[in-house]
Symmetry: C2
Subunit: 126 residues, 2 copies
Amino acid sequence: MKQEEIFKILSDKTRLRIYKILLETKIEAAVCEVMTAVQCTQYNISKHLRLLHFAGLLQERKNGRWVFYSVADSKNKFIIQLNKAIKSLKNEIYKQDLKRFKLRIKMRKNNKIQFCVDNKLFRKVS
Amino acid sequence: MKQEEIFKILSDKTRLRIYKILLETKIEAAVCEVMTAVQCTQYNISKHLRLLHFAGLLQERKNGRWVFYSVADSKNKFIIQLNKAIKSLKNEIYKQDLKRFKLRIKMRKNNKIQFCVDNKLFRKVS
DNA sequence: TTAATATATGCTTATCTGCGCATATATTAT
DNA sequence: ATAATATATGCGCAGATAAGCATATATTAA
C-alpha cells in the first residue's frame, strides 16, 4: 500500500479509534477485546483490524482461536510522524475507549474473562 | 471541524497533492495556478481548495479576481505533526507537480502570464 | 460597453465504502 | 462428540463523495 493511502485508512472514525487505542497502550489485543473498547460489532471490528493490518499499521499474531493485533514497528519517517500526530489527538471518546480497553485487558491478564456476549463480559463462576 | 476529520480531508489524492505543494513551497497561489500544477479542471480545484480552507488547513485572501490560498499558520500540535508527516512523503507525482507549480509561479512574478486555457499558459505578446 | 478571464456552485451520475446480517471456519471446553 | 466461543467473509443496501458539465458571478482588458 502506498504511503499516502494511509490517510484513507485513518479517515474512518472507528478505525482511528481502534488505532489510537493500540498506539497509546502498545498492547497486543484480540478482536473481542477491541470490540469491548470501541463497542462495535464483531464483524466490523474484524474488518477494520484487517484493513489496518493490510495497510501495514498493525501486525497480527495468531494464538489458538485468538488473533492479537498490535501497532507495527515502523522505521518509516512518515508513519513515525503520523503516529506522533495521532497521539496528540484529544477527545472524550478516546478516553472512554481507553478506559474500557484497559479494564478488559486487566481482566484477561487475571484470567477472569470467560466469554463476551453483546459487548458484556461474563466471568467464570464454577 | 474536528481535528480527526482532517484525515478525511487529506484522504483524497488530489487534495493531498494540492496541500503538499502549498506546504512545501509556502507560496500563496491562485486557483488557476494550482490547476497548472495538479492538471485538473477548474471546478475541481476550486472545490478542493475550498474544502481545505473549510478544514482550516488553508487560508484564503482575495485580490481582484484572484483568490490566493496558502497554508494556514497553526499552533495546534496535531496539525504541526501532521504537516511534518506530509512533508516527508516522497513520490514522483509530487515532484512533477512541484516542477509545474514553480514554473507557473515564476512566470506570474515576472508578469509574463496573461491567461490560462486548458492548462496551457499564454503570454502577452503586444 | 463588450469581451475575456478567474472563481464558485448547483445538478447528475458513477463509484466507493461502512454497516448489518447471515454464515463459515477454527479452536476450546464440557 | 457436542456445544460454545473467536474470528473471518460474502452479500446487499444506504449514504457519502469525487468528477463531469453547465452556468453564474465578479473583475479586468480592450
